[in-house]
């Protein structure tokens, strides 16, 4: 199992701060695809991904127990 954390407006889309999801063996891109299907109004195209608090690229593979966070870059200032 993996814990997935959502930041900023993504949390409103999911309706909770975190999600338990079995993502082991999947790439970040695949996981983004699955979540986008699960939540109609979720767009993860430009969202940064952290695995265990470290920057992850779309090709990185999630391991069992990894903590995943989706952090949208924001532009307001």
């Amino acid at each position: 199992m993996n814990k997935i954390l959502f930041f900023a407006h993504l949390r409103d889309v999911v309706g909770e701060e975190s999600l338990s999801f079995d993502a082991a063996g999947k790439t970040v891109a695949q996981l983004k695809g699955l979540l986008t299907k699960k939540y109609d109004s979720m767009n993860l195209d430009h969202v940064m991904t952290a695995i265990n608090e470290e920057f992850a690229s779309d090709e990185d593979v999630v391991q069992e127990g990894d903590l995943i966070a989706f952090i949208p870059p924001v532009s307001g200032g």
């Binding site: 407006h9 949390r11 920057f55 924001v74 307001g76 200032g77």
Partner: protein, 339 residues
């Protein structure tokens, strides 16, 4: 006689030596909105040598809730933010040389303003300008500090050329649907938290305490009580066009800037984003509706009413801004809604 910096000098990582370094430094602040106000006030009080503050907008009533340098009088006088900021900052510390620049921070202007600058602080509200700052920073080997906030959420990242990955390594391309203050609302504490992260990093850079620099992208949500630091070393991309081996500084090329065209005889400006990409119109429409905008549309476009203007957004990111012939105003409205 100068007591004013005594508490800063008593802080061991700064000390008297640090004070002298701070007094000798020139900071370029891009933006004089919420983040710009906060950062500029802290650095002016800290006694930096010179502050150049760049902004293209003027003060409006809706700024006063969080843009700490401005007053009701500035709103009445519709003062440009850079000018109003300079006026207030000079009252706070007459020892600092304040240079207001009322302009759009285009790559051309950034090239002119960069000479002699020790640090750039990002206080903009859009990724187009940030990516230009990122390229200028790499080209001239000058550090910059990214900061942004929306709602109760914010983030910051310190970018040191040659040492850290750059913003282009992290984002690869400009998010066309980034949230901005205007679409998402904002509370002042989120501004102050982002400002605190940026200005603390600024002081470290100004006193040249490189060891102390934060090497993570920090993000926080003050309402939802979240705080996270993401290590970014792995994001460094040798193929990055901004900081890699064969760099071209793509965002200094005006080809990559937002294109705007005044449509003849229609009182309309067309804005085209730098990179084409699909926008989820239904998601954007829903988001704007919850924020109180009057939104209508069809599968091909959405129409949004904003005061006297009407914005029509197409799924390729293109927009028509009706009710204006002013390209700068049209660009401002576009970036408020589409980041």
């Amino acid at each position: 006689m100068d007591d004013r910096y005594s508490r800063q000098a008593l802080f061991p990582p700064i000390g008297k030596e640090g004070l002298e370094k701070i007094r000798a430094k020139h900071v370029l602040m891009i933006g004089a909105g919420a983040l710009g106000s906060g950062n500029a006030e802290i650095l002016t009080r800290a006694g930096i040598g010179r502050l150049t503050i760049v902004d293209r907008d003027y003060v409006e009533a809706s700024n006063l809730q969080r843009q700490q340098l401005y007053s009701e009088k500035d709103v009445e006088e519709k003062l440009p933010k850079a000018a109003a900021a300079a006026k207030r900052l000079r009252m706070i510390n007459s020892q600092v040389e304040i240079q207001p620049v009322i302009t759009d921070a285009t790559p051309e202007r950034l090239e002119e303003l960069i000479a002699g600058v020790d640090l750039i602080i990002d206080a903009t509200d859009n990724f187009e300008t940030r990516m230009a700052i990122n390229d200028i920073s790499q080209k001239h080997q000058i550090p910059w500090i990214y900061g942004a906030c929306v709602g109760s959420f914010g983030m910051s990242l310190t970018i040191i050329p040659g040492k850290t990955p750059c913003l282009n390594c992290l984002l690869k391309k400009i998010p066309i649907q980034g949230m901005t203050c205007d679409t998402g609302g904002i509370i002042a504490p989120a501004v102050q938290m982002a400002v605190s992260h940026q200005s603390a990093e600024a002081l470290k850079i100004l006193v040249e305490d490189w060891e102390a620099i934060r090497t993570t992208l920090v993000s926080f949500d003050l309402w939802r009580n979240q705080y996270t630091s993401m290590k970014i070393t792995k994001a460094k991309d040798e193929g990055c066009l901004s900081c890699g081996n064969e760099r071209t500084y793509p965002y200094l090329d005006s080809e990559n800037m937002v294109k705007s065209t005044v449509l003849c005889g229609r009182d309309t400006v067309q804005i085209r984003p730098p990179k084409q990409g699909e926008i989820q119109l239904s998601e954007l429409a829903a988001q704007l509706k919850t924020l109180g905008y009057k939104v209508s549309g069809n599968p091909y476009l959405i129409s949004v009413e904003i005061e006297e203007q009407r914005l029509v957004i197409f799924s390729d990111g293109r927009a028509l801004i009706h009710g204006t012939k002013d390209v700068t105003q049209a660009k401002t409205i576009y970036q408020r809604l589409l980041g």
